[in-house]
Symmetry: C2
Subunit: 271 residues, 2 copies
Amino acid sequence: MKFIDKLRASAVKNDSLVCVGLDSDVAKLPAGVDQLSFNKAIVDATHDLVCGYKPNTAFYEARGAEGIQVLKDTCDYIRAKAPDVLIILDAKRADIGNTNAGYVQFAYDYLGADAITLHPYLGREALEPFLAREDKGAIVLCRTSNPGAGEFQDQYVDGHKLYEYVAKMVAGDWNGSGNCMLVVGATYPAEAAAVRQIVGDDVWFLVPGVGAQGGDVQKTMEAAQNSRGDGLIISSSRDIIFASSGTDFAAAARNSTELLRSEINTYRKGK
Amino acid sequence: MKFIDKLRASAVKNDSLVCVGLDSDVAKLPAGVDQLSFNKAIVDATHDLVCGYKPNTAFYEARGAEGIQVLKDTCDYIRAKAPDVLIILDAKRADIGNTNAGYVQFAYDYLGADAITLHPYLGREALEPFLAREDKGAIVLCRTSNPGAGEFQDQYVDGHKLYEYVAKMVAGDWNGSGNCMLVVGATYPAEAAAVRQIVGDDVWFLVPGVGAQGGDVQKTMEAAQNSRGDGLIISSSRDIIFASSGTDFAAAARNSTELLRSEINTYRKGK
């Protein structure tokens, strides 16, 4: 199955553009709950409300081999529980060509993820092992959500800002397999609108940065959706998974996910 | 101990600017030799000839949790065998600030690495958890060795090419802890010379790309060393660790390492 078809179907399935970020920092877990049990409880509580889960590798690598095993068990659990929901590995990888084969193996063969986030700096040629996989998503950092994102991304290149230039290249030359997406932070709605303008309706965005980082859902939707009322996945991590630090964390996560889904859908064109 | 002092001492210890890349792809290992035994044999055979080892995480992550355990055991082995030799984690990471804390934990607490390679795209603010560690090296991708490196890196920004702009920022604003290095590929000697011009004598380069990728040692040394005859570490992977595919692989690796050290030293100023 082509990635773009799985992506579209995942958004239709639960009428949702919400992706839950599994940034399951062990220092923040409720007392007595281990990382894997926590993830399973979050998935149990939310899988009928989302289009995807986005585990960030940093929170698993921090614990070494044991954490990687938890990451794999989490991915296996999601696939069994909700096979139509995307698993987006937020790994922000990118190496030279032959080395990327190792990351492809990690993300797709070992974890069974549907997509991975990637740095653009090495260029299309280096990322070919990801771009060639039409069954898997290649989600390229374009405008990141952090306060200092502009240091390089706002520099002018060829009359456009670097993040716009990245958007143009990824939506064009890089997208031969139709599997490219762009990371565009909710903290920068004007930039998101500029990227939508450049890439048209067919390239989807992965949008982190709502909630704790300060991004606003209404502004994001107005800026980033396409003319069909989709074209983006909004990812929320801390505001969902750590909505409560008590024993009711899963119920609180469900509640936050429902609110976010509903808020997003309020602003979708044609809804 | 400051990273820059450990770096300088590592080059003096064995009179060597050679770093051995532990790109220990399991598909290429000699028959009957597992990944960890292979790495130990390479370290045993070469540790008195090098200034560093550079395991690339992709070749370990490819095997999941088991591979991460091998990576940790390899790092532990290097530290026990050759405590003065650097462990450079070629991970090419970079996320937003609080997430990078997970990678810091992985690289420095779990693996005990001395340095890590980083993508520049998110800017200084995001990389602060790495830059703040004066005891650990932050090695930022500047001019990568791959054929398509120029797609973004050669774009003009503020009158200079992007890789030159990255070099200027990293050697300046980013280097408050004196722990920054730059990745500059041996496949681009003219670009390496331009970067040396920009950053002066005190910023060290990590230089991949000699041998299999086509980089030339003489051209690299003429372009990239500083006025003191150092300021760079040349990393070779396949030409050393896979110099022989037979049972004599370790002896062949030693031989290749000796030749590379000697060739590099031939071109060092003041030698």
